[in-house]
């Protein structure tokens, strides 16, 4: 490794934000032609470091060398000039524009006063072909998939002559198949002389593609080592700072009474078509029932119907023998259903509120927190302090706005609130989406703990691995129907993948490649 030329070197970079040191004299070295993974939990400071390299932040201390020349990168334009490109996690594209228009935006080839589209299309096509990106330069951004949009972002950097590409959590938004295609593209890029920094917290990707990995924890570099000589457990340990079990210890389920009975439930979706078609299942106390399925097969509508957010056309939902179909969210909540919502920013939290006010979002009106119409902040504070401690929510204080917390800690706060309601049924929708290993481990343990306490847990997730690992029973949903039920011990992702795409019924359906 040492023989390769160093293209980027960052020395003793320190960056402070109010209240935290995001980077604490960090050293980072990128060699030519390598894929260098930057691994760390959410909020560890890896994105900050790369934003400094891309000129979005200015470091308080430290030096940056590009191609062995000391440089000051005072803005993205400077970074681009130095051959650094960044593919952001959230794409920065103009949707009604075509692929080409997006790529050339800001550095258009000119023909007199007009934009030379002909030349632009040709150039985009050439780059696309050279790096195997397979992008149609004439397509509108609106019309292409998320995976394709990402490739447009990659092309944007290449068009501007980037030799050093920074990928910020590139796989967070992709399907398993798109991920493997992206990894292929990255291999292609380095084989043609580019150097890549991959910001990620997914160990699997690092093992699959990276040459070197630098682990960051709480703003400090813990280690930097070649991937070849390491393993996922070792990396996870370095990242989290303690031993992490990637496998889950789980006792056998002790089944109790049915807690949630869903019978021939019909619910209309956003387009007015039936999103749930006579869905039926029973969830018992003491078990985790996993609902597996490809996104968009009625999972969101099921969650909304179960929590009272979406009207029920017909059928019944019973919780401990009480009919709750069509009841209000509050009635349902009081009847004993808790939800860890799919989208924690949309449904789970009020981001501008302090943690303490978020902790009573569903219980603020109860006598415990409310005295004759006035909020009892003494009680609310005590409650919040207790939950923050019990669930290890890392926050400077309970007065901190939820927005300032990392994703994992936001999720912990939601889980603390929902579990503390002591529900009979806990619905966990995508409970670990976008979280890092440490937080995932914590959340999985809590879900199993709830099940061991005799609660009924309904797990809805698009991640097969999670479903297989946690569930005592798996029901597969396809086009709003439960099309099969399997025992996780007797199945594998291959079989589940086929069921999820309903391969048995529609021969030659979409990809059966559900392996993650």
């Amino acid at each position: 490794m040492d023989k390769a030329r160093t293209v980027v070197e960052m020395r003793n970079i320190t960056k402070r934000f109010p209240g935290i040191v995001a980077n604490d004299s960090v050293n980072f070295k990128l060699s030519q032609g390598e894929i260098h993974a930057l691994l760390g939990e959410n909020g560890a400071g890896k994105s900050t470091l790369m934003n400094i390299l891309f000129g979005l932040y200015q470091p308080e201390e430290g030096e940056i060398f590009v191609n062995e020349q000391e440089v000051v990168i005072d803005g993205p334009n400077k970074a681009i000039k130095l051959g650094i490109g960044m593919v952001h996690q959230h794409f920065k594209l103009v949707h009604p524009f075509t692929v080409t228009e997006n790529i050339i935006l800001g550095s258009e080839p000119k023909l007199g006063f007009a934009v030379n589209y002909k030349q632009a299309h040709k150039e985009v096509e050439r780059l696309s072909k050279q790096y195997g990106l397979n992008v149609d330069p004439y397509a509108k951004i609106d019309e292409i998939s998320v995976g394709m949009q990402q490739r447009v972002e990659i092309l944007k950097t290449l068009y501007r002559g980037a030799d050093i590409l920074i990928f910020d959590e590139p796989t967070a938004v992709l399907t398993p198949q798109e991920i493997s295609e992206l990894l292929e593209i990255m291999r292609n890029l380095v084989s043609q002389g580019k150097s890549i920094v991959l910001i990620t917290h997914k160990l699997k990707e690092i093992m699959a593609i990276a040459d070197t990995v630098t682990i960051v924890r709480r703003g400090k570099v813990i280690d930097s080592l070649p991937v070849a000589g390491t393993n996922p457990n070792q990396l996870a340990e370095k990242m989290v700072g303690r031993e992490v079990s990637l496998k889950l210890d789980k006792k056998n389920a002790v089944l109790g009474e049915p807690a949630l009975e869903v019978d021939r439930l019909v619910v209309k979706g956003r387009q007015g078509l039936n999103a749930l078609n006579e869905t039926s299942f029973v969830l018992k106390r003491g078990e985790i029932l996993g609902i597996a399925g490809v996104e968009g097969n009625g999972q969101s509508e099921l969650i909304e119907a179960l929590t009272g957010l979406r009207p029920v056309s017909s059928g019944s939902i019973k919780i401990s023998n009480m009919e709750i179909a069509g009841a209000t969210p509050r009635t349902i909540s009081e009847a004993g259903i808790s939800l860890i919502p799919e989208d924690r920013h949309k449904h789970g939290l009020v981001l501008d509120f302090p943690v303490r006010e978020n902790m009573v979002l569903e219980t603020y009106y109860t006598p415990q927190f409310n005295k004759r119409g006035f909020m009892d902040f003494d009680a609310i504070d005590k409650h919040a302090e207790r939950l923050v401690k019990e669930f290890d929510v890392r926050t400077p204080s309970i007065m901190t706005e939820a927005r300032a917390l990392s994703g994992g800690n936001q999720q912990k706060a939601i889980i603390a609130r929902e579990v503390d309601k002591n529900p009979d049924v806990l619905i966990a929708a995508q409970p670990t989406r976008g979280l890092d290993v440490g937080a995932i481990e914590f959340i999985h343990k809590r879900l199993v703990e709830q099940r061991n306490m005799g609660k009924a847990v309904l797990l809805i997730s698009y991640e097969l691995e999670e479903i297989l690992q946690l569930s005592d029973r798996i029901a597969v949903i396809y086009e709003g129907r439960i099309v099969g039920e399997v025992n996780p011990a007797e199945t594998n992702d291959q079989e589940l993948g086929l069921m999820m795409t309903n391969y048995k019924q529609s021969q030659g359906g979409p990809s059966s490649e559900q392996t993650d």
């Binding site: 969210p329 509050r330 009020v350």
Partner: protein, 359 residues
């Protein structure tokens, strides 16, 4: 209370203060261009506001409606609504108070409170219309409140013209003595400035604003609705009812501004050709005050003083009073564009950075 002060002064106060200074500077530059003496002008302005008891009292009178309309707009803001209709609600408040003040005859301890309550309800009802249309029909409140401003203006004129008009005058009959909320002894103390109880109520409204939004269950609900309607729905809060309620309260606050103008200042309601501007100034006051109750109070004091003091400027320095509208406009501009101010502060304080590093 400590927390409250901290919330106001904590960081965010620097932008309005710099904005005010810049606004005054821009005003001064324009005066210089026009060949006036800005120092003399501003001195006359201050002199007008604080110079004698009468003017000081009248300044307070000018500030009062701005506190109410500022709170009205800020309250709606806090609950996720943009109430452009404080003007219309203000007019309806006036109208309600005038109707009771002129056409009913009761002992003072019933008459005045009744006039205040009815006027406030008129304003609240006017706000509620926009809230209802948003909740039930999804109509954007910005559009409805703007239209309701015009409807209010002409409805009020119609009511005054056809039912309350004193023959030969362009205004309603004077309200009964028993409905008036003036403070005689204070007026006499301040050389007959028009002092009234509305000033005290305005201060109470500032306290109400804070306590209601941040201390009560209903305030919590409204804030959740304002910040995240989806989370509110899941938490079992009725979002539509919240919108209607918020617009009602916002309307009541604006309505009270009109109520006290009638019952405490003019003692009648004029047929007016155009809007008074108090409602629109409320938007600026709310913006300047960061939608914070005490901030609104300070913003209203500034705006009220500048507007009233403008007359002194033209008297003392021969400066046209419109200059002060330029100052106000510039202040709003800089408050609305905090980026400019942060940029200026950053450029002005290059030495501070190294100091920060030591810490």
């Amino acid at each position: 209370m400590n927390k409250l002060i901290k919330a106001i002064t904590g960081g965010s106060a620097i932008v309005p203060i710099v904005a005010i200074i810049l606004g005054l500077l821009v005003g001064a530059i324009i005066m210089l261009i026009g060949g006036y003496d800005p120092i003399l002008a501003y001195r006359s302005l201050i002199n007008k506001v604080f110079g004698n008891p009468y003017d000081f009292g009248e300044t307070l009178t000018a500030i009062t409606p701005l506190i109410f309309t500022g709170l009205s707009v800020a309250f709606a803001f806090r609950t996720g609504l943009f109430n452009i209709g404080a003007e219309g609600q203000y007019i309806m408040g006036m109208t309600g108070a005038t109707i009771i003040g002129v056409s009913v005859h009761l002992p003072w301890y019933i008459h005045a409170p009744l006039a205040v309550i009815v006027g406030a309800l008129f304003g609240g009802f006017w706000g509620m219309i926009a809230g209802y249309l948003k909740a039930a029909r999804g109509v954007n409140e910005v559009i409805t409140t703007i239209m309701l401003n015009w409807i209010a203006l002409h409805l009020a004129n119609y009511i005054v013209n056809d039912y309350l008009l004193e023959p030969g005058k362009g205004r309603s009959y004077m309200i009964d003595e028993s409905a008036s909320v003036t403070i005689g002894w204070l007026s006499r103390l301040l050389e007959d400035a028009r002092m009234h109880w509305g000033m005290l109520i305005a201060l109470l409204a500032v306290v109400f604003f804070y306590v209601f939004l941040w201390r009560t269950k209903q305030g919590y609900e409204l804030r959740v609705v304002g910040h995240n309607p989806d989370a509110a729905k899941y938490a079992g809060i009725n979002v539509n009812r919240g919108v209607v309620k918020a617009m009602f309260i916002s309307g009541v606050l604006a309505g009270l501004a009109g109520v006290f103008q009638v019952l405490g200042v003019f003692l009648n309601q004029a047929v007016s050709a155009s809007h008074t501007g108090h409602g629109f100034d409320g938007i600026a006051v709310a913006l300047l005050g960061g939608n914070n109750p005490v901030g609104v109070l300070l913003g209203a004091i500034l705006f009220g003083s500048l507007s009233y003091g403008a007359a002194g400027m033209s008297f003392g320095a021969d400066v046209p009073p419109e200059i002060i509208r330029i100052v106000i406009g510039t202040v709003i501009f800089f408050v609305a564009a905090p980026g400019i101010i942060r940029w200026i502060i950053k450029r002005r304080l290059p030495g501070k950075k190294s100091k920060g590093e030591v810490i």
